[in-house]
Amino acid sequence: MLYRENGQFKTSYQADQQIFPIAQDRYAMVAIVAAACLLVPWIASEYVFRALLIPFLILSLAALGLNILVGYCGQISLGTGGFMAVGAYSAYNLLVRIDGMPAVLAILLGGVFAMIFGVLFGIPSLRIKGLYLAVATLAAQFFCDWAFLRIKWLTNDSASGSVSVPELMVFGWNVDTPIDKYLFCLAFVIVFALMAKNLVRGHTGREWMAIRDMDVAAAVIGIRPVYAKLSAFAVSSFIVGVAGALWGFVHLGSWEPAAFNITRSFDLLFMVIIGGLGSIMGSFFGAAFIVILPIVLDNLPNWFGIPIDTALASHLTFMIFGALIVFFLIAEPHGLARLWSIGKEKLRLWPFPH
C-alpha cells in the first residue's frame, strides 16, 4: 500500500543487488538507524537503557552470530553460552594481563579466541550431523562451565571464576554512563550487522545455505563442506565471542561463569527460532522479543493490580517461552522475520492478495 515502485528500474547490477533494492525500504532503514543514534539517547530513561536497550543490542549481536551458524549454515549449536564465555573471559584476561591493552582490541581479540574455540568444536560437524552435532556443541558448553569455574588461571585466580572489569576506556572516551554504553554497543551492532549481511548475500553466504539446504548437491558443485562449515563456525563464534565480551564488559561489568551457562545458550537459540532462522533482521526481532517478554510478564500483573511473586512469574515465563517455541516451529518455522516479510509483500501487492 505504501509502496510506489513504478520507475524504480535498475540499470546496473550494483543497484539491483543492493541490500534494500526498493527505495521505500532504504528510507525506512535510514530513518530507523538515525533514530537509534540520535533520537533514542534523548528520550530513553536510564532504566530503559540498562534493562532493555543494552541487553537487547548485545543479545541481538549474539543471536546474529548464532543465526549465521544455525539459520544460514544449518549447523545446530547448543554451546553458544560457552562461546560467549570464552569471548568474555579471554577479553578479560587480555585486558588485565597486558597493560595498555585497548578495550576495543581486547573485545575483538576475545572474539578471535572464541572463534578458535568455535572452530575446534566445529570440527566434529564434518563427520557428524544434526542431533549428534547438537550434543557435540553441548560438550563445548559444559567444558566452558567447568573450565572457567575450576581452572584458576583462566579467571586470573579469582574465586569461583567471578571477575570484574576496570572502567572501560575507549580512545580516551570513558564508557560508563548508560548512554555511552548504549552507543558503544550500537556501534558494534551496526558494523557487525552490516558485515554479516554482506557475508550472507555474498558467495560465502551462498555456500553456507547450500550446505544447509542440500549438502550433497553442494559438494557436487564444488563446495567444500569442511570450509563452508568451519567458516560458518568461525564467523558465528567470533561474533558470539564479541557479544560475550560486550555482555561482560558493558552490561554486567562483573560476572561469574553462571552468566554464560546453558540457559543462555537455549535463550539465544530461542531468539533465533522465534526471530527467524536465516534472517539477519530476525535476530533483532528475536532478541527484542526475549528481552521484553519477561519484563512484561513481571509487570503485567502489577499493571492489573494482581500481585504475583517473582518465582511464579519466572515459571510462567518458562512456560510461555516453551509454548511459543513450539508454536513458532509449528505455525511459522521462519519466525517473526517471515511474518514481517509476508506483511511487506502484502503491502507491495496491496490491494491484491499475497
Binding site: P124, V135, A136, L138, F142, W146, R150, M319, I325
Partner: protein, 309 residues
C-alpha cells in the same frame, strides 16, 4: 584394589541409571525420530508429581499405609505422564510430522521449558523427598576375599537392580510384543507404517507413555537419592553422551553406553580429576562420546547413515 573396585561398581550402578534415562531417549527416537531433549524435564516432572502426590494423598484420603500411599501416588503420577504423552502427541508431534530432526529437537526444547515451568507452577519449586523405602544402610561385599571388602550402598544397588530389570523388560517388550514390533516399524519408515495401517498417533502416545514411565522410575530413584529438585532435569544432560555413545537407535547401545559412561566418569573423577581441578565428570562424559563419534559417527550400535541422491 578395593577402592578401584568400589568405584567400578559405583560407576556401574550409576551407569545403570544413566541407561535408564538413555533408554527413554532411544525409545522415543526409534519410534518417532524425535531426539527428545525433554526426557530430563520428564524425569523432574514425574518425580515432582510422585513426591507431591505422596505428600498430598494422606491429607486427601486420610491414609497412613506407606506402601499404599506410594502405590497410589505412583499410579497417579503415571496417569499424569500418560496424559502428558497424549498432549505432546496431540499438540506438538502430530503437527510436526515429517519435519527434519533439528526442528523436532528444538520442539522438545520448547517442551522442556514448558514442563519445567508448568511442573514448578503446579507442584512448587522447593526440594521434596521421595521415600519408597529403599534400604539405606551400606553393606560390605567380599570381605572374605580381601580385608576391608568393598563398601556398597544398598540403595544404589537396589536402584541399579530395578533399573536393570526395567531395561530388560523394555528390551523384551521391543523384541517380542506386537506393539514393540509396530514401534520399530514406525521408526524405520513413517509412510510405510501408515500405509500398512499402523496408527502413527497412537504409537507415539504409547511410546511417550513408556518413556514417561521410564522417566517416573528414574525420577523416583534419583529423587530418593538426591531429593526432588530442579537440578534433576539436568540428569538428562548427563544421559545424552550415553545415547551418543550407544547409538540413537539401539536399546543395547543405551545399556552398554550407560555403563561405560557411568564407570568412565567415576574413574576419571578419581584418577584424572585431581590433576584438572575436579568436577570434570560432566564434560568428561561428553568428551568421551565426542571422541568416539569421530571414529564412528553412528555410535556403537547405531545403523550407518547413507545419503541417497
Amino acid at each position: 584394589m578395593g577402592p578401584f573396585l568400589e568405584t567400578l561398581i559405583g560407576g556401574l550402578m550409576t551407569g545403570m541409571l544413566y541407561s535408564l534415562v538413555a533408554l527413554g531417549f532411544v525409545l522415543i527416537y526409534k519410534a518417532s525420530g524425535v531426539f527428545n531433549f525433554a526426557q530430563g524435564a520428564m524425569v523432574l516432572f514425574a518425580a515432582l508429581a510422585m513426591a507431591r502426590f505422596a505428600e498430598w494423598i494422606p491429607a486427601w484420603l486420610h491414609l497412613e499405609h506407606k506402601v499404599l500411599i506410594n502405590l497410589i501416588a505412583f499410579l497417579l503420577a503415571m496417569g499424569v505422564m500418560v496424559a502428558l504423552a497424549w498432549l505432546v502427541e496431540r499438540l506438538v508431534l502430530g503437527k510436526l510430522v515429517n519435519q527434519e530432526g533439528v526442528a523436532l529437537l528444538m520442539a522438545t526444547l520448547g517442551i522442556t521449558y514448558f514442563m519445567d515451568g508448568f511442573g514448578q507452577t503446579v507442584f512448587g519449586s522447593d526440594i521434596y523427598k521421595i521415600d519408597v523405602g529403599l534400604p539405606k544402610e551400606p553393606m560390605f561385599l567380599f570381605d572374605d576375599v580381601f580385608q576391608g571388602g568393598i563398601l556398597v550402598n544398598q540403595e544404589e544397588l537396589s536402584a541399579a537392580l530395578i533399573a536393570a530389570l526395567l531395561v530388560a523388560l523394555l528390551a523384551a517388550f521391543f523384541q517380542y510384543t506386537g506393539t514393540g514390533r509396530a514401534l520399530r516399524a514406525v521408526a524405520d519408515d513413517h509412510q510405510a507404517a501408515q500405509s500398512i495401517g499402523i496408527p502413527l498417533g497412537r504409537i507415539w502416545v504409547i511410546v511417550w507413555s513408556v518413556a514417561g514411565f521410564v522417566a517416573l522410575v528414574a525420577g523416583i530413584i534419583w529423587g530418593s537419592k538426591l531429593g526432588v529438585q530442579f537440578s534433576l532435569s539436568q540428569v538428562a544432560l548427563k544421559a545424552l553422551p550415553v545415547v551418543i555413545l550407544g547409538g540413537l537407535t539401539s536399546v543395547p547401545g543405551a545399556i552398554v553406553g550407560g555403563l561405560i559412561i557411568g564407570v568412565g566418569e567415576k574413574l576419571s573423577e578419581i584418577y584424572i580429576g585431581p590433576f584438572l581441578g575436579g568436577g570434570i565428570e560432566i564434560w568428561f562424559a561428553y568428551a568421551l562420546a565426542l571422541l568416539f563419534l569421530l571414529v564412528r559417527p553412528q555410535g556403537l550400535f547405531g545403523e550407518k547413515i547413507i545419503d541417497r541422491v
